[in-house]
């Protein structure tokens, strides 16, 4: 499975990845834009105690994505080779995916009559043709690497081990929400990069799954209980009626 490794310490903020992404996807290049329906990735700058830090954001391509699990018609899908892809032609625009994504990634064309979702596609087509993603190809410093997830995890661990004073001892995305295909290593806390901390390590779809799995037994037992209650009360009503009739002496 493919993954991207983003090494925040190496990002110089040149924006080559953004430009490459726009070109590869036929999107307009805009200075200083936020993630949006036409901006699949952004480079941001944040001032920290360790100086100015540049970093990029994009869809995390979760291993068990909340967005794909909530989509009622499967317009979002996790592909076995990594990408979480979106099929606009079947999307009904319920925006449950926007609501459910823990990283606030999917963006919606709010001002369209036939609105679509915009988010990084992990250059799914390029991967299929054996190429790396456009952003990884464009990155001049190796801050974005594209490769096998296991390989990249190894690279990340090696880099952290080689310079323990520099890196935080953590690979963001290794285990968050069950793991993601985009991995970060950094010298500043991930929180300052706007990556949510304290995410559960369990995939989010599991939270819903537990409730949904109660449904079949619930339906079964509700059916049985209802039938039983109906029979009981029906019987009771009949007995009461029969008693009334005998008491009033008349039998039909």
């Amino acid at each position: 499975m493919f993954a991207l490794l983003i090494d925040v310490t190496r990002c110089v903020g040149c924006g080559a990845c953004v430009a490459a992404c726009c070109e590869a996807n036929g999107l307009p290049l805009e200075e200083g834009a936020d993630l949006g329906p036409y901006h699949y990735t952004v480079v941001r700058k944040v001032r920290t105690r360790r100086g100015e830090v540049y970093y990029r954001l994009l869809c995390m391509h979760c291993l068990d994505p909340a967005c794909a699990s909530v989509c009622p018609i499967g317009a979002l899908k996790k592909r076995p080779d990594g990408p979480v892809t979106y099929n606009a032609s079947i999307c009904m625009g319920c925006r449950y995916c926007v609501q459910a994504c823990p990283f606030e990634v999917p963006r919606y064309e709010w001002n369209s009559r036939a609105p679509k979702l915009g988010k990084c596609s992990f250059c799914a087509e390029r991967l299929q043709h054996g190429q790396v993603t456009a952003c990884a190809e464009a990155c001049p410093t190796g801050a974005t690497l594209c490769g096998e997830r296991n390989e990249l995890l190894k690279v990340a661990r090696e880099r952290i081990a080689a310079e323990p004073g520099k890196y935080l001892p953590k690979i963001y995305g290794e285990r968050e929400v069950g793991g993601t295909s985009v991995l970060y290593i950094s010298h500043v806390p991930f929180r300052t990069l706007g990556l949510p901390e304290h995410l559960p390590l369990e995939p989010l779809p599991g939270y819903t799954g537990r409730a949904l799995s109660q449904i079949p037994p619930l339906v079964g037992s509700a059916g049985i209980v209802l039938a039983g209650l109906w029979w009981l009360t029906d019987r009771k009503a009949e007995v009461a009626r029969a008693e009334r009739e005998t008491r009033s002496g008349g039998r039909r």
Binding site: G93, S112, H198
Partner: protein, 382 residues
């Protein structure tokens, strides 16, 4: 009297005009132009009120039909028809609201063919479709009678017991699944509202809210159509309502304690205290009418009973709006645009108008009493 009628008529017209304008904007320029929604707050008033509350308030339908046709509580029979009518109209309005809210409503049918059973939204879609059908059949005899279609009417009536059972199960799934929608947001929803028990909480509050809605609606129609209130019936409903509110509150506090968040509710001053304050407002609205409904003096007075019903409906609405708005960080700064409000008001107005129309032309409020003394289990009414 005259002036009051004129006032309501003009108000309704003004609402409809605003609603039509908002509709045009919504469908020609998109959701962004008509609403205050954003990527941070993708669900607003139309989901939080029209769908979550609309479905919940329709819960009177399945509660009352179950009580009458499954539990044989004959006393409740006179209110079956209005309850079913309310539920049916409620569901129709929910569907209309969904068409407003979905960005690409023409793809809605795909939920029936492209299955993703892992999605709660998928479950919701099926429940809406199936239960609306059940309600339509439950309601249809009134229409058939009016048209003189004896056979059709009898056929629909003969199926009432299995229909009621199906309605109970579908409603249970639907009410609870609206809560399950939010289970995927363990990190985004405020801990005062996020709970693995959300589906159960939604179910209990829906039953209580649905019963409150029947009380409210009986009071309203008593006024509007000059009927006497079925006080002995409604008093029973108030009692049942208290039981369900009690269970709801018990579950709510037990769950807060279990998750270690009971103290979170004490954060009522200072920064970020809005959720706690809204939590207590919600609590007060639930607890006060439930406590008062314990006293038979309150239950037996038409005005007070009506007041209890209204407050409980309010509590229910606030709970759902809190889950869908206050509990989300982005929701705390969200306020619906006037066009969102206009569409919602328009739908409510249309619902009320449809109810009036049905009462005027169909036997919503008559029938059952006439033959109550005979063998009730053989004569099945819808």
């Amino acid at each position: 009297m005259m002036i009051r009628r004129l006032f309501w008529r003009w108000l309704a017209l003004a609402i409809l005009a605003a609603g039509v304008y908002a509709t045009i904007v919504r469908f020609t320029q998109g959701l962004g132009a008509a609403t205050n929604l954003s990527d941070q707050m993708p669900w607003g008033l139309w989901v939080g009120f029209d769908v979550l509350c609309g479905v919940g308030l329709a819960a009177g339908g399945f509660t009352i039909t179950t009580a009458v046709y499954i539990l044989h509580l004959e006393k409740l029979r006179p209110i079956v028809r209005p309850a079913v009518l309310t539920a049916f109209l409620g569901y129709l309005l929910v569907i209309v609201a969904l068409l407003y809210d979905l960005g690409r409503p023409w793809n809605i049918w795909r939920a029936t063919v492209m299955w993703n059973p892992r999605s709660v939204m998928f479950e919701v879609a099926w429940c809406v479709m199936l239960y609306t059908t059940v309600l339509a059949v439950e309601f249809s005899p009134l229409l058939f009678d009016r048209l003189g279609w004896r056979r059709a009417s009898r056929a629909a009536r003969s199926a009432i017991v299995p229909l009621t059972a199906a309605g109970f199960i579908l409603s249970t799934l639907h009410q609870s699944s609206l809560g399950s929608l939010y289970l995927i947001l363990p990190t985004k929803l405020h801990p005062l509202w996020y709970s693995p028990l959300l589906p159960w909480l939604f179910w209990f509050s829906a039953v209580a809210g649905g019963l409150a809605m029947v009380i409210f609606e009986s009071g309203m129609s008593a006024r509007a159509f000059g009927r006497a209130l079925e006080l002995d019936v409604l008093e029973k409903l108030a009692r049942a309502m208290t039981v369900f509110v009690g269970l709801f509150l018990f579950l709510r506090w037990w769950d807060l304690g279990r998750r270690g968040h009971a103290a979170t509710a004490l954060h009522v001053w200072g920064a970020d205290s809005l959720p706690a304050r809204m939590f207590w407002l919600e609590m007060a609205l639930f607890v006060i009418p439930a406590a008062l409904a314990l006293s038979s003096r309150w239950r037996r007075s038409p005005q007070r009973l009506f007041g209890l019903g209204c407050t409980m409906v309010g509590a229910f609405l606030l709970h759902r709006l809190n889950v869908s708005t206050t509990a989300l960080a982005a929701g705390q700064s969200y306020f619906p645009s006037w066009m969102e409000i206009a569409v919602t008001l328009m739908l409510v107005t249309l619902g009320v108008a449809a109810f009036r129309f049905a009462v005027r032309h169909l036997a919503v409020f008559e029938g059952p009493r006439r033959m109550k003394e005979e063998r009730p289990t053989q004569v099945v009414y819808a």
